[in-house]
């Protein structure tokens, strides 16, 4: 279903979504974050991309899995803790981040679904915002089958036009949101359609960063385990977690017990973010570390995204959002690395 919404009506519509918790881009210091909002009159002109992607809501940094208590009489006592029931609408999700959800679903909603992710996923309504102009100087979604107007993972995609939003309603969840205030939504005219198509064409032409021949990458990668490239490219790596923590698809976690009392023993088992870039991520109890250096950890990040994930799920675990490139304190550049990989195959 396609609709248009007057720019001035955006706030009216959002005001009708009283039953939902609303999230939208909020400026914090020097960047944008998805924070809870009470209203949304418009998307600011300088809104680019949030710092921490949507996974902060779907796969929070700390997820309580269950509580435990060593009850002396009744033995150990466990109680499952599920995410609270609340429907959440997130506005301004960029196509790359929405595609991230689709990739996360492959991991957490496949054969053995993760109930915590599932519940949060079901409760999240994604209202996207297409990218014109491009939000970042390192956007490269186009090289990975995405695009500035991609609708994957979204319930609604908004496109900011001259005086209206072009509204693509993509799922029943999207329809439900429209129904909250149907009087503000009109059928698009041909002119609206053209304007939208034109914006998409212009946006697609704006990309400066791209991977040449992404299809070549995974067969080449499988031959590059021992390549000196990893050592060269990782030399300046800091071993921090920025690239993975800000990635819309990275989802590795650690599970830890948080003890609130030792007598009687009480606490919570929680799932917290972890990353393959931390030296202790693969540390064995014996002290042996199969990924002992920065080279093997960088290799893991690239291989996981462009080889292992492809082998397991048939898709590349990267949406081309460019965060890891822009936010890396030492300029490690996945686009540059992938182009080097691709040229190895040439």
């Amino acid at each position: 279903m396609e609709k248009v919404l007057k720019k001035s009506d955006l706030g009216q519509w959002v005001a009708r979504l009283k039953d939902f918790d609303l999230y939208g881009p909020v400026r914090e210091n020097n960047h944008w974050e998805f924070n809870q909002i009470s209203q949304l009159a418009n998307f600011p002109e300088d809104y680019t991309q949030v710092n921490v992607p949507l996974k902060k809501i779907l796969l929070p940094n700390r997820e309580v899995l269950f509580q435990f208590e060593d009850n002396r009489n009744g033995g150990p006592y466990l109680q499952e803790v599920l995410p609270e029931e609340r429907e959440v609408v997130v506005f301004g999700v960029r196509p790359c981040d929405a595609r991230g959800i689709v990739l996360l679903e492959k991991v957490f909603s496949s054969e053995i679904p993760d109930i915590y992710f599932e519940r949060r996923r079901q409760q999240v309504y994604v209202v996207g915002l297409s990218c014109y102009p491009l939000p970042g100087e390192n956007c490269f979604c186009l090289s990975l089958g995405g695009g500035p107007f991609s609708t994957k993972g979204m319930d609604i995609l908004l496109t900011k036009m001259q005086s209206k939003y072009f509204v693509e309603v993509l799922t029943p969840k999207g329809e439900k949101l429209i129904k909250a205030a149907p009087e503000y939504f009109f059928n698009p005219t041909d002119k609206d359609q053209q304007e939208r198509q034109q914006l998409e064409r212009k946006a697609r032409a704006m990309f400066t960063r791209q991977i040449e021949g992404v299809e070549k990458i995974w067969p080449v990668l499988s031959q590059m385990f021992e390549s000196p490239l990893w050592r060269e490219e990782s030399y300046r790596c800091l071993k921090c977690g920025i690239c993975t923590y800000l990635c819309p698809t990275c989802h590795c976690f650690d599970i830890t017990d948080e003890i609130s009392s030792t007598a009687p023993l009480q606490g919570k088992r929680v799932r917290v973010w972890d990353t393959c870039q931390f030296p202790d991520f693969t540390m064995h109890s014996s002290g042996h570390n199969p990924r002992p250096d920065k080279a093997s950890r960088l290799r893991q990040r690239i291989m996981h995204k462009f080889l292992y994930f492809v082998e397991t799920f048939g898709d590349i675990m990267c949406t081309g959002c460019g965060r890891c490139v822009s936010k890396c304190p030492v300029g490690i550049d996945i686009i540059d690395i992938l182009n080097k990989v691709a040229s190895h195959g040439a």
Partner: protein, 343 residues
Amino acid sequence: MVEVEKIREEARRLLQEGQVRGVIGYVRGPQGVWAVPAMIRNPEDVDRLVWNPTCVHNLVLFVVEEKKEQARQKEPDKRPLAVVVKGCDSRAINVLLQEKFIEREEVILLGVSCENSGVVDKKKLLNLVPSQKIEEIVYGNNGHIVAVIDGERRVFPPEEVLADRCLECQANFPVVYDHFFGEKIKKEAINTSPGVDKIEKMRLEERRRFWEEELSRCLRCYACRSVCPMCYCTECVVDPISFAVEPTTTAEEKAKKIKWIEKSPLLSENFVYHLVRAIHLAGRCVDCGECERVCPEDIPIRLLNKKLEREAWRLFNYVAGMDSQAPSLFSTFKETDPEDFIR
């Protein structure tokens, strides 16, 4: 003015003569103008070396990494490392010398003066010239920064684009070096930390609210810790597992690892993490400002270190990194140390 060709010449000579096993310097990065750290091992690569206002990184971190790497080698290359150091970086070298982490002979210091300027805060510059393509960033006159954008030179005064740490810096040339490039121009800092002033003027509840807002965003990506050349401990007190493990280490010994804080980025845990870090850096932090620069969440971490820097000076007349022979802040005392806070 620092002539990059002179740095290259020296680097080339050191490499050709086999005096060093490598030169740690700045090269142009994959995203165009922004420099990145690199290790140059061959004389033919020295032309990649650059020196410009985007050379923000404290390369002493890589001296630390190299030291650890060599310690793991069966046959370590004992030749020294050449490293390009700015004023703040050289003070970091002094702290490492003071703490006997490195010996003076292990490094050949190619000192560069920041002269009347400093390094660029990328975020500040990109706020002024958001989406345009910057082709080059160079030093202009009187500490000004020149950005070439679409072939056009745009001149920015230092206060608009320099990193805060540089605006507040009082020692903008190396205090220890083997070769020196540029001029020793003593710069007058207007205020060593307006940020600390601001917090000190706040009421207690305001300070708490300020830090709660800032630290609640901490993701615990540990970029601040990873980038710091002073955080060279084998194992950090906040690490959940023990790195000091060998095949002979018993389960009981492993169980002795203390969980000082939770791994979760809870506000309380973030507070303790950053406070521990600040205390551990007291008298050691040279204000290279890298922790704050790398923070993906723009948390003003420097303000914690700056506060302790201020207090170390006020209470003990101590400045970090000025003297590699002096005892560390906490490994000495004076009879006259203040104690009016003690009952």
